[in-house]
Symmetry: D2
Subunit: 358 residues, 4 copies
């Protein structure tokens, strides 16, 4: 398979470059008779849209989505849903000075080695612009999942500054431009990022995405485990370098009795006394919250001069101008939510196929 | 797809439960005329085999592999290769006392919720025994990759004790029962694990797998990125809770200039001055070493009593007897190597398909 | 998988309804650096376009294709190619009188049973309009195959009137509106179809597609045989009810010695003395011409009144007005060629993956 | 994908050569808690077994199937089911005289061109022996479909002699060694085949497979149409050269009003007045019987000398000895039934995934 498709039953294919006329996504496998309007998708795209604070790229993209197929009289028909977003603010001139040299940390060099050519105009398919298609697909996935499953993301670390988990308040994420759940942290991040931006540098981040209300039984043994598919989905988001579920890497330092989530009956239902598993055991959801975290590296496009080589094999120095996110991790929050929604929707349909009543 | 298959072109399907008569793997998509004998596979299975030190389960399995199809006169024919391993030491009586209650941290509960039944005899498909099939597939993958690509794994942390990376010596991994690359650490781990075992507890671990000699160009944008496929492959290994590439989660705390690997020409070739990317940019290999780490949670089967529930909805206490690994992470090293080999072989074939000369 | 995607490595996904704003196709897996311009695709779309003679529907669609992604400076980049065709002549009023009753022989009833709804405006995804996307994908496939492989289709039967194979002349197909290779038959077909049209009826057809220059070695045992994939690809074209390879159904009546194509050396190369196999043995191409035929049923939309039922369960009579092809098989010729091209391109890439030098 | 796997949700992978130690199939995606014993599978294998009359190969294979995984206490568990059949009667000496020359009509030449080698011992994967794995998978598929769906096959033509459809009696198929539904035809076929056998020749056949009780709604637009998947499944059976649905190729000569199946209400249900569609419209089942026919070419292995070439490029003459079916189509009947069952089971699960209550 050629690589621009994700999912088995809820299955989407994205297309489009950052500097072409448009980008889009074909969402296939959506059951019929689900209400779906452009506004349902636009809502989530607006959350990802750049240029909403000084901490994200100043590229101005309205990101207006159009539904070109797959619905009739406000409902899905079971046929493929094509969502298209036109590129408005392309400004390809910004990239001319880097057309023949490879930006360290960027996909330039790898694409050039693989394909023998470069679309230097802004990353092409490797651009973060591709993630708008993911968010659009995720909006459809949320409709498939229905209102009983809530997916929320938060930024839990920028650079070396992690949130205080004891202070976690989901309501806080709407009150700051960082999706930060710790009410005291945004001020500190703002100050930190202002410094990063002024110095022409960039910062990394860690995002946590939580799905509540997920029924037990989603996920397939052995290679299509729910956590395996989530790991893949998150790792394919631009700039992600690590993914963990529940306690994640910290589990390595726990003892067996600390890590294993004990169970008790509570009001006639099974209750877990902790959630180190992140809601997944043996690759299958348990009914607890699904908890995924992923690390985003600092933006590779920085103003500081870096040593690199050019396509002719010369040592050169590069400075990347243009409009970039000082911390690309901020805009990754809605993208991580979308990937969670898509993976869950796929496994929900797969579970139904073998008789799961979900 | 039903979940027991991995890969697009180099593609394997595993079957078998820990307490059935045998387990096996069908490896499809192997090019013809590659020399392959049972000994090529047995070599790697022997490294994974339990019972080789007091730090792994005492289950005694010879793990003798048989090639039942796909080769002729010592070479692959291009047809599916079926590898079968008989289960010898099954002792299902060990599991009778847990037949109706759910072991915390185990897949018992999730399987029961999903499938409405339990094969209580030892984990069924969720057993670590399934990983022998992965190692067998990995052995075939190494033949597809050829001698130019070397894949090695090491244990870099047990419980809270991490190796000193400055002391890394690949030769050391053969000198201790832990695949430990830090010559001074095995004594400390041995002492730590003896204490863990005596107390009826268990320990987690972190494994690092490195592939050297991988050509640039492997990996497909956007959803079939090499790192995405590696993340999925590693996360589907039993008990894995986190995966990272290169600098991984630590990248979140670095600045853009620290994280981006600069490039210089060295002897007519491109050389990177660091490898925070772990050999992958934009989802595509760069020619640097591919570096993956994954975290294994502590074994869930412990002697200490734990609170849980049974299938009838009663609060109960469970003690898991039987032969278990105090640190299942030790035996995960050859498994991680095998998954790396399989993912690389798949992408090598995929790259060839579009004309890549590798 | 959701059903709107075809192929493993050369892989396309189509979207769009006959009465929506546009239709399109995302072609993924195309190798980089292949010259591709809109004119390359338009050429083949023009051949399929309706309204070019009085024997096809009078719907007027310019079918102008736009390349929205996947090329740069006139060459493919290896990223997904999105081709979009706007629907111009929609006239959905034509379909109002059939909105609540099921047209015999149409997909109306099956869609309604499956999805619980109807997009009565003209067939939705089941419309022959979808085949424009196939032709666009096929145009890209031809570029992947290169100039050494020539794919041509011909109409060999309309209603009961079959061509005289002894009179076969490929040059003739450009001289008549039927792609007819028998110079004497078009006059007869024209007379026959005029009668069919006047009586408000319709006619079926048989199409033959031949691929010359296909190298030996394409096709995978056992379930991805080249003929299996061709059969599926052709059978999924609207209104197709049968597919055969080489001698096809006639082979059932031959003796073993009549049917088996003998071989001799001719100028240092293997030559077959006949081609009952249609160029495929054991699912793999032999180097002979690939020969596929498929039968298209008569158009279901006819003026004659037919007995049917409506969505409320009443017996009713239906007359289908609107602009329909009296013989939809005519326009199926370029579609069959396109499907041949797509299947061959997919297997060409798959063969390269295991080292085939094609 | 490598080609030895079929299906999306009900998904099986076969392995094994005709002259290796065993053959087998891994069936993945079977829902849990379906009763399944070896006898359920053996029943169908016994029907395909060779050597049961003088009209099939005299190779003696007991074809004893073993379930090696995927069931527990007589029920499926949801994990992959591995079915293995040992090869008993291998006699590879029979094939020595053809080791270096290509049998006309056989896959020998194509495999040699593709893979650069030959397993001359009897066809390897291209042997009809592989179809035993299909029958085993089909037996599992029937259990997934449940008792409400009945699948039966019949031989409707041997050589030039077709049955009288007016005389069709399903009960007759158990009374003769040909699965012939026309009580008067077996005597004629017997006489015909005796002549064929004595002359060292072989005969082709046409098989019809009918599935009754299939609910409306199975099949996915556009490329995963039910008829498309059936066409592929049947065409991949050894020696099949044509597939048709319902009226098939004969539909090309019908008028629109003859071909379209009219509908009336009968006892509150929709009834079709004919079944030219073969139970499928727009790629989706309508609730009518699914009717598929396929043509099998005459066995290529015949005693008569044929002209061919050898691997060194010499013109030679070949005579194929050994034990072959004079009409391989006879044993194709249970294989066709099995493929029908597998395709329907796959689409049944897929329909459930989008909410279909079947």
């Amino acid at each position: 398979m050629a690589g621009n498709t994700l999912g088995t039953l809820f299955r989407f294919t994205t297309w489009g470059e950052s500097h072409g006329p448009a980008i889009g996504v074909v969402v296939d496998g959506v059951p019929p008779k689900i209400p779906l309007a452009e506004a349902d998708i636009q809502h989530w795209l607006d959350r990802r849209r750049p240029g909403q604070s000084r901490y994200t790229t100043q590229r101005q993209e309205p990101d207006q989505v159009k539904i070109l197929s797959g619905t009739f009289e406000g409902e899905t028909t079971g046929t493929p849903i094509h969502l298209m977003i036109e590129n408005v603010d392309q400004r390809s001139r910004d990239y001319r000075n880097i057309a023949d040299r490879f930006r360290p940390g960027h996909a330039d060099y790898a694409y050039w080695k693989k394909y023998g050519l470069r679309d230097y105009r802004g990353g092409g398919r490797a651009s973060a612009r591709e993630t708008a298609s993911r968010v659009a697909a995720g909006a459809v996935a949320r409709k498939v999942l229905g209102p009983g499953i809530a997916i929320r993301g938060a930024l839990v670390q920028i650079g070396p500054h992690a949130v205080d988990r004891a202070a976690w308040d989901w309501r806080a994420i709407e009150d700051n431009p960082f999706w930060c759940p710790d009410p005291l942290m945004p001020a500190r991040w703002a100050e930190y990022l202002d410094g990063v931006r002024k110095s022409g540098s960039s910062a990394g981040a860690v995002i946590e995405v939580v799905a509540e209300g997920v029924p037990a039984g989603l996920g397939e043994p052995v290679y299509d485990k729910l956590d395996g598919d989530l790991a893949r989905a998150m790792m394919t988001i631009n700039a992600v370098k690590g993914v963990e579920i529940g306690a994640g890497f910290a589990a390595a330092a726990l003892s067996g009795e600390e890590n294993s989530d004990e169970m008790r009956m509570r009001g006639g239902k099974v209750a877990f006394l902790s959630n180190n598993a992140g809601g997944i055991l043996g690759g299958i959801s348990t009914g607890q919250d699904i908890v995924v975290r992923f690390a985003v590296k600092p933006t590779s496009s920085i103003l500081k001069p870096m040593r690199t080589v050019d396509a002719e094999g010369n040592d050169v120095v590069i400075e990347t101008h243009g409009r970039h996110d000082p911390c690309v991790g901020i805009r990754a929050v809605p993208v991580g939510e979308a990937m969670m929604a898509c993976v869950l929707a796929d496994h929900l349909l797969r579970y139904r196929a073998i008789g799961g009543e979900v």
